[in-house]
Subunit: 354 residues, 2 copies
C-alpha cells in the first residue's frame, strides 16, 4: 500500500520524480553511468545545474532580472549564518515567528546588533505579529515566510525600503507572491523542491559587497555567483532531483497551479478541524498555513484511537512537533487532495466511533 | 556497454551500491516510502546515520576511542574553514602540496597566522616535501594526504606533538594507516566513500573547545557532536549511499582488502607508464598516488589517436586536470583491475599503432 505521506520535511515528492530519479542511479540519460558517478564538471551535470537555476528563477518570475539562483549545501541553518555574514554591517531587524526565526536571530547576533521588531513567542508562536516597524538604520529585514512547527504563514510582507530577506524553506513554490519584492530568498530543498541536501538561494546582486568584513570563500554569496554555483563540488544528486521537481512544477502549470491545489487541500482539512468538536486548530485562523495544518484533540484520551485510525489508513508523519503536540498535516505540493481526504475521513470516523 | 569510469570525483562506486540505492528511491526497506521522502528523524533514517558513523570509525580502527564521526554538508571546502574556526587560536602550520592545501591555507588565514612549513609549488606540486619542522607554538598541523590533481600522496606523516589535521578526501578508506595518530580527519564523500553532498569528519574530542572565539552553530564541531550529526537536516540520501558503500568496504574485507587491490591497480598502470616510451609520469616516483596516476604523452601529436583509443574502449574521465594536462587515471576503491587493464591495453595499442 502506498503511504499518504504527511511528513514535515523531508517530505513527499512527485511519484514521477521518484521514477526518473531511481532510473538515473542506474543509468543517467543512457550514458552508461550512474548520476552518482559522473563528474560535476561534465557537460551532462553542468546542464542539470543550469536548468535547475534557470527554472527556479523562471517559476519565481525573476528571470532576466538582477537575481542569481544558487544551489548550496548546509541547509537553511547555514543560511542563517551566511545572510548575516554577507549583509550585517551594524544592525539588522528580525521578525521572530518561531523556532527557525529564533535560530536565525541567534546566528546573526555574532555579526552585529539584532533588533527583534516583533515576536509571537508570548503565545507559543501561534500567530504572526502584524504591527511593527523596521528601524531606519537596519541593514536588512529578515523574516520566515512559513513556520512548519507552528503552522503559521505570513500573508502580507511588510513594506520596507531595507533589503528584504526571507527564509522560505517550507513554502517556496507553493503560492504566488511578488518575489521581486525580496532581495534574498533562501530555502532548504526538502519541502516543495527536492530532497534534503541542497538549499536554494536567490539573491539580488546589488545588495552584496557592502559589508566591511572579509568573508570566508564558502560563506560568500559572491564566490558562488562567480562560479555559477560550482565553486566546490555541489550536492549533485540533490540538485538533480530538485531540477526534476522544478520541471514537474512547471509542467503542472507553475506556482499558480500549485497554489490552487494547496488552497483546496487547506480548505478541506481546516474545515474539518473547525467543524469537528473533537479537534481544535493551533494557529490563529488568519495566519493559518496551507502547508502545515497544526491541530490538537480536544480530549487527549482519544489519542490512541485516533492514532490507530490514521495509521491503519496508511497515513504517515501526522504527529505534531513536540513544541506544539497533537497533530500536524504537512501538505506540500506533491501531496494529493485524496491524501488529505483520507485524514479528514479518519477525523470523521473518530467522531462516529466515540 | 558499461563504462570504465576513471573520473577524479564524483567517481565510480560499487555496482551493488547503485542497485540498492536505486531501489531505495522507489521503496526504502519495504516501507512503502522513498528514502527521499522520509523524515530524517524517523527511526529508519536515524539508524542509517548511526550505522554510517559507526562503520566509519570501525573501518578506521577508531571505535571505542575518543573519536566522533560526523556526516556534514559543504564539502572539504567548508572544512578548510571549520578546521580553522574550531582550532586556530593564534598560529597554525600547513604543508602545501597542491590546490586543496592552498585553498585550506587561504581560509585559515582569516582566523590567525598561518605558517607554510613547506611547499612543492616550485615544481608544480609534483612531489611531497619531506624535510620541514612544525613550529612549537602552532595550534595544529594541517596536511592533505592525497593530491588528486597532481597525483601525489603522503606516505609518511610527520611526527608532531601538535594536533594532526588531515584532509583525506581522495584517499580515505583506500589504505591502512594508524588513524589514531590523527586528531581531525575530514573527507568529502565523493571518492571512495559515496556520492557528492556529504563530508565525513572524524574528530578527537579533546582538541575542541580551546579557542576563545564564539563559533557559529553550523561551524562548530561541538554542535554537531552534541546532536549526533543531526543538528540540522542532514543530506539524507548522500549519507545513505555512503553507509551502503561503507558496508561494501567492510564486506569486501575492510581497508586492507581495498589497499591490496589499489596497490595492484597502481602497479599495473605505473609499470606501463614507466615502460612505454610514449608516456611519462608526472609525479615523483616515491610520492606517486595509487588513487590518481598522472601522466603525459611524450609527444603531444599522438593525443588525438590515443584519445580515440580509450574512448572507443569505453573509458571515461581520463583527461588530466588543466593544471597538469595529459591524463589522470583515478582508480578509487570501486574501480576494478580489469578497467585499469583496459587503459594499459590502450597505451600498448598506441605503441603498436605508431
Amino acid at each position: 500500500m502506498k503511504k499518504h505521506n504527511f511528513s514535515a520535511g523531508p517530505c513527499i515528492l512527485p511519484q514521477e520524480v521518484f521514477q526518473e530519479a531511481s532510473q538515473a542511479i542506474l543509468d543517467f540519460n543512457d550514458s552508461g553511468l550512474s548520476i552518482l558517478e559522473i563528474s560535476h564538471r561534465s557537460p551532462a551535470f553542468v546542464s542539470v545545474m543550469e536548468e535547475a537555476r534557470s527554472l527556479a528563477l523562471e517559476l519565481l518570475g525573476l528571470k532576466n532580472k538582477d537575481y542569481k539562483a544558487l544551489f548550496l549545501q548546509g541547509g537553511a541553518s547555514t543560511q542563517f549564518l551566511m545572510a548575516a555574514y554577507n549583509l550585517l554591517e551594524k544592525k539588522a531587524a528580525y521578525l521572530n515567528t518561531g523556532t527557525w526565526s529564533t535560530k536565525a536571530i541567534k546566528e546573526a547576533k555574532l555579526f552585529g546588533e539584532v533588533v527583534e521588531v516583533a515576536s509571537s513567542k508570548d503565545k507559543n508562536f501561534n500567530y504572526i505579529p502584524k504591527f511593527f516597524s523596521v528601524p531606519d538604520d537596519a541593514d536588512y529585514f529578515h523574516c520566515t515566510s512559513n513556520n512548519t512547527i507552528f503552522g503559521t504563514q505570513i500573508k502580507e510582507f511588510p513594506s520596507t525600503s531595507k533589503p528584504l530577506v526571507c527564509d522560505m524553506s517550507s513554502d517556496i513554490f507553493s503560492r504566488e507572491l511578488d518575489f521581486s519584492k525580496f532581495d534574498l530568498i533562501y530555502a532548504g530543498a526538502q519541502k516543495n523542491m527536492g530532497p534534503a541536501g541542497t538549499t536554494l538561494v536567490v539573491v539580488k546582486e546589488d545588495i552584496l559587497g557592502k559589508v566591511s568584513r572579509e568573508i570566508p570563500s564558502m560563506m560568500n554569496y559572491s564566490t558562488h555567483i562567480g562560479k555559477d554555483s560550482m565553486f566546490n563540488t555541489p550536492a549533485v544528486y540533490a540538485v538533480y532531483v530538485s531540477m526534476l521537481t522544478l520541471r514537474w512544477i512547471k509542467a503542472k502549470g507553475g506556482i499558480k497551479a500549485m497554489e490552487d491545489l494547496n488552497n483546496k487541500k487547506a480548505e478541506l482539512i481546516y474545515a474539518e478541524i473547525d467543524r469537528n468538536p473533537l479537534f481544535r486548530g493551533f494557529a490563529a485562523k488568519e495566519d493559518r498555513s496551507p502547508m502545515n495544518a497544526t491541530f490538537n484533540l480536544t480530549d487527549e484520551s482519544h489519542k490512541e484511537t485516533f492514532d490507530k485510525l490514521w495509521k491503519d489508513a496508511g497515513v504517515n508523519g501526522l504527529n505534531g512537533h513536540r513544541s506544539v503536540g497533537g497533530y500536524r498535516a504537512s501538505m506540500y505540493n506533491a501531496l494529493s487532495l485524496e491524501s488529505v481526504q483520507v485524514v479528514v475521513d479518519c477525523m470523521q470516523e473518530l467522531e462516529r466511533k466515540i
